[in-house]
Symmetry: C2
Subunit: 206 residues, 2 copies
């Protein structure tokens, strides 16, 4: 089986999941944590070399404050959780903004935790405009230059779009969309995605 | 019904269509021409303001010469065909390369044909690296700065990826994928895509 080297994860649908359970929107985010760790462990076991989680974006941070605080806390908790595993961890996003959580500043350069062995990138207060530096006066490398080409993007929550996720690394990615909300993650989702990916040809535009 | 302003068209599957009919790969491209015109007319009637067709890319141009000549001719024919309609037409791509067809040089600045009224962009010898100018020494606007944000990308041929199609304009696009090969285009494909799009929420990352 041909396993992707790098999987991009768009864990969407937390708020809709919360509403469907009778909770408030803000209460959906923490429910994504255990499944995020489960996904990490599955990927590690399968020999995937790199995972990027779409945490939150500069655009997301304009949502109501109680939601922003909730998804920020979920991201901090998620990064701290992965830091207890064997991983080469990087938090990537605009850390000069006041909405970037200070707790994550120590992670903005890649560091190995435990025995490392899998690159894990967490996009936190990320924005594609920031990444590309389209408004920078002097050309400079992508802010995400330490993030590899993404082979497979998997998005939960039924929407079929990238929503600004790493536009350069995803130019040739295959996209797999799952209707279930992210907190309803099941191992079978990722196995189905990999099975599907295994049958795609890879041309890289050629 | 909420109609997208700008639709991106990835007309994939020409070679597989040709093989399925017992033709040579190179013979698939011309079959995409009449359906491309049909699609243009449908979009115009529906009030869509802009269409971008993914013609061929710098990567595609590395394919065997007989294929390159065939898809280049199909692009030239397609542009000349649209130029007989009412359209504001632009051909966008690296026109300094020797594989860029000279016949299309007059179209590399947007011009109005007939009564105009719909922007039609044709990507010919396009490349996302060229568009973004990532290797340029002085920052400059996108080469595609006259191409608007794409609301909906429709891809024929069963693959679920962008293959380098306008990475900046598609950051928030919704994606609709059709298994049929492009030469098997039917009006119902685009009606189904628009019906689906009508039920998507638009958040632009918010």
């Amino acid at each position: 089986m041909r396993i992707p080297k790098h999987i991009g994860i768009i864990p969407d649908g937390n708020r809709r999941w919360a509403l469907s359970k009778g909770y408030e929107k803000k209460d959906g985010y923490e429910s994504g944590l255990p499944v995020g760790l489960e996904l990490f462990k599955i990927c590690k076991e399968l020999g995937i070399k790199e995972i990027t989680y779409y945490g939150f974006t500069v655009d997301n941070a304009k949502r109501p404050k109680e939601q922003r605080l909730a998804f920020t806390k979920a991201c901090v908790d998620a990064v701290e959780m992965i830091s207890k595993e064997d991983a080469d961890l990087l938090v990537l996003g605009n850390d000069k903004s006041k909405v970037f959580p200070k707790e994550l500043s120590p992670y903005t350069e890649r560091r190995t935790f435990g025995n490392g062995g899998i690159k894990v990138n967490f996009l936190v207060n990320y924005s594609w405009e920031w990444d590309l530096g389209l408004s920078d006066k002097i050309p400079q490398p992508l802010k995400s230059s330490d993030v590899s080409r993404v082979d497979l993007v998997v998005r939960w929550g039924g929407r079929k779009r990238l929503s600004g996720f790493l536009p350069i690394q995803t130019v040739y990615s295959d996209f797999y969309f799952i209707d279930d909300y992210w907190p309803d993650f099941k191992k079978q989702h990722i196995l189905d995605a990999l099975e599907w990916y295994n049958h795609q040809d890879i041309t890289l535009g050629g």
